[in-house]
């Protein structure tokens, strides 16, 4: 299969969907002139014109609010958040409008929009440009939340999100943009709500998503050399969660570790753990372990930043602790 980068994969998704459906358009800061702060929108204005690829002012509440309004009026907007760290600026629009209008209005309307938010730690970007906040949104009824870890899923989930008649948050890790990987040709769609068993194993289940999938897979490699066969599940969608895929794996492995870059307390890992502790506890042979960042803002200085990042070795160590 041909290999393209994560960012190219999202570009293909955008391009194909914009071609397919003239109601799809994109808006955000530095989208048209710059091609997106990570180059993820490069070439779109040349292809589709600046009527459908809109640079906006620094006005996040208007970006999301107007996207909701345009969706209500029959368009399919894709809005870009620049950095996920700024989503707090328009949290009300996400939480009280985007997520709720269809329900509040008794189904009179729908909100087929996508909000893309580049997240995660990159190169000492410090406390306000390094955050992962996906967990907030799994606590908000009315939106769906996807978070791909590789180019194929990036493309497939973005296409699914754009075609979805429900509002979707699409988190994409900044470190992933240049990463290459195989992407199927043609109209590749990854369904929202379906996790993926990225590596089969029988001794322990590692659930992760986004950049941390790569650490998890590395860890699984290392563990394999020591005789531990880890099954690695890529959640891909965190709301709604694909419980069945997780449960099926835990039924087999009887051990569960969840890994994410976001701080551990109150993170997605808590929900996964709680689901298993609620419905699968009798299957477990070990405590459920979560690996997430320590409860502290992301520091600037490289050696400190290193301390809040999760390595494959962290995962290996934790897995070994529960596989004794």
């Amino acid at each position: 299969m041909r290999e393209i980068s994560f960012s190219e994969a999202t570009l293909e998704a955008m391009s194909e969907e914009m071609e397919r459906d003239s109601s799809v358009f994109v808006l955000g800061e530095d989208i048209a002139r710059q091609g997106g702060i990570f180059g993820q929108f490069k070439g779109l204005p040349q292809k589709f014109g600046t009527e459908r690829v809109l640079d906006t002012p620094i006005s996040e509440t208007s970006i999301v609010g107007a996207a909701v309004g345009a969706a209500l009026a029959g368009m399919r907007p894709v809005a870009d958040m620049h950095f996920a760290d700024f989503i707090g600026v328009c949290m009300d629009e996400v939480f009280n409008q985007m997520a709720k209008v269809r329900f509040m209005f008794g189904g009179q309307c729908k909100v087929p929009m996508v909000l893309r938010a580049p997240d995660g730690i990159i190169r000492s970007a410090a406390a306000q440009h390094s955050q992962s906040v996906e967990a907030w949104f799994m606590h908000i009824p009315g939106v769906k939340v996807v978070i791909p870890s590789n180019p194929a899923d990036a493309k497939g989930l973005l296409k699914a999100a754009i075609r979805s008649d429900d509002p979707v948050l699409y988190f994409e890790h900044k470190v992933l943009f240049p990463m290459k990987g195989p992407v199927p040709d043609g109209d590749h769609i990854v369904p929202i709500g379906k996790a993926n068993v990225s590596r089969a194993g029988k001794d322990v289940t590692i659930v992760s998503y986004s950049l941390m999938m790569h650490r998890a897979l590395e860890a699984a490699e290392k563990l394999a050399t020591e005789g531990v066969q880890a099954e690695v599940i890529d959640l891909r969608t965190i709301s709604p969660i694909d419980k069945e895929t997780i449960f099926e794996s835990v039924r087999k492995t009887k051990r569960l570790v969840i890994v994410h870059e976001a701080v551990k307390q109150g993170g997605v890992g808590a929900e996964i753990s709680a689901l298993v502790a609620e419905e699968m506890i009798d299957w477990l042979d070990a405590p459920i372990r979560r690996i997430g960042a320590p409860f502290v803002p992301v520091p600037f200085s490289p050696p400190l930043e290193q301390l809040v990042k999760i390595s494959a070795d962290n995962i290996v160590k934790t897995v070994k602790e529960i596989c004794r």
């Binding site: 006005s59 345009a70 269809r102 008794g106 309307c109 419980k243």
Partner: protein, 326 residues
């Protein structure tokens, strides 16, 4: 003042009375303990929605506020499903899921009341953006109060609409109070229309208690906006005759202040004075409309009372289009 067709005048009056009587009835039912939630009445501000929205086409958009019943009625929503919604009945516009603060009728472009002050502004901006992209000729109108004007999202929306020359009219209903806070305290300028200059858009201050003044201003604004010149701001000076919400003890103003306003500047009395003086309508014309509307409102309440509540199985309807609840 221009000449108006009689039918137009009758329609204006019908809409204003419909809002007034609808709201009076809602207030009554609320005080009678019949209504869930809380309600904000549009009484005293009827001339604005009426004079302005009467100029819109059915497919034009309106994004409203927490005080949305009047906008809904003037945009052409039916009062039966409105009343049913406020009662929380399954026959309501939102099947009982929204209530007063989320009343909406998408079939007439009414994109909903909004419980978040300022929440509707950018919905209108977005709808106008959609209209522009589709070259549909539609316009969007959005309302905000003298209090809501101080929310940041209003600023963002006005700037964005201006740079993209979107067909949207920003309507400030300056009714002197934001809940218990007088606008003279919380709002740094006496006339909010001055802010339009900050976005390079026209902004005018108009007597919002005079439906004719509103209507003239609306026509000018619409002509400008429909011609593709970009957004326009209308500020209507008016007065909230009732409490902020039904049940408000109104400790922040005197009864006299309210009575004075009601006596001297009630938009319905103002209308009657003009049309009777000019002999555009007779008292009989008006009485007939009043009686017809009163009956209509009575039926709406009677029906709403009898209508069924949603059943338990409806909780998860009208929600995700594609399912996905765990």
């Amino acid at each position: 003042m221009l000449a108006y067709k009689k039918e137009f005048l009758q329609n204006l009056y019908r809409t204003m009375v419909r809002i007034r009587l609808f709201e009076e009835k809602v207030g009554e039912c609320f005080l009678g303990g019949e209504l869930p939630g809380f309600v904000h009445l549009y009484i005293g501000e009827e001339a604005i929605a009426t004079g302005l929205l009467s100029e819109l086409n059915q497919d034009d958009y309106v994004a409203s506020t927490h005080r949305g019943h009047g906008h809904c009625i003037a945009k052409g929503a039916k009062i039966k499903p409105m009343m049913a919604e406020i009662f929380g009945k399954s026959t309501g516009y939102c099947k009982g899921k929204g209530g007063s603060m989320h009343i909406a009728d998408f079939s007439v472009g009414m994109l909903g009341a909004n419980g978040v002050v300022g929440g509707g502004i950018n919905l209108a901006v977005g709808a106008a953006l959609a209209a522009k992209m589709k070259k549909s000729g539609q316009v969007a109108v959005t309302f905000f109060g003298d209090g809501g004007a101080n929310r940041g999202t209003v600023h963002e929306g006005m700037n964005m609409a201006a740079i993209w020359k979107l067909p949207v009219i920003f309507v400030c209903e300056f009714n002197q109070y934001a809940s218990t806070t007088p606008s003279s305290y919380g709002t740094s300028v006496p006339n909010l229309a001055v802010r339009a200059q900050g976005y390079n858009m026209p902004g005018v201050t108009v007597d919002g208690n005079d439906v004719f003044a509103v209507n003239e201003a609306a026509k000018k604004a619409l002509e400008y906006v429909r011609a593709g010149n970009g957004p326009y701001m209308l500020e209507f000076k008016t007065y909230r005759i009732k409490g902020h919400y039904v049940g408000d003890p109104e400790l922040y103003r005197s009864k006299q202040e309210v009575q004075d306003h009601f006596d001297k500047n009630d938009p319905l009395k103002n209308f009657a004075k003009v049309v009777l003086a000019k002999k555009w309508l007779s008292q009989k014309d008006m009485d007939a409309i009043y009686a017809e509307v009163a009956a209509e409102v009575k039926t709406a309440v009677d029906d709403a009372r009898k209508d069924p509540y949603p059943t338990d199985s409806e909780l998860f309807n009208d929600y995700y289009v594609e399912g996905g609840v765990n």
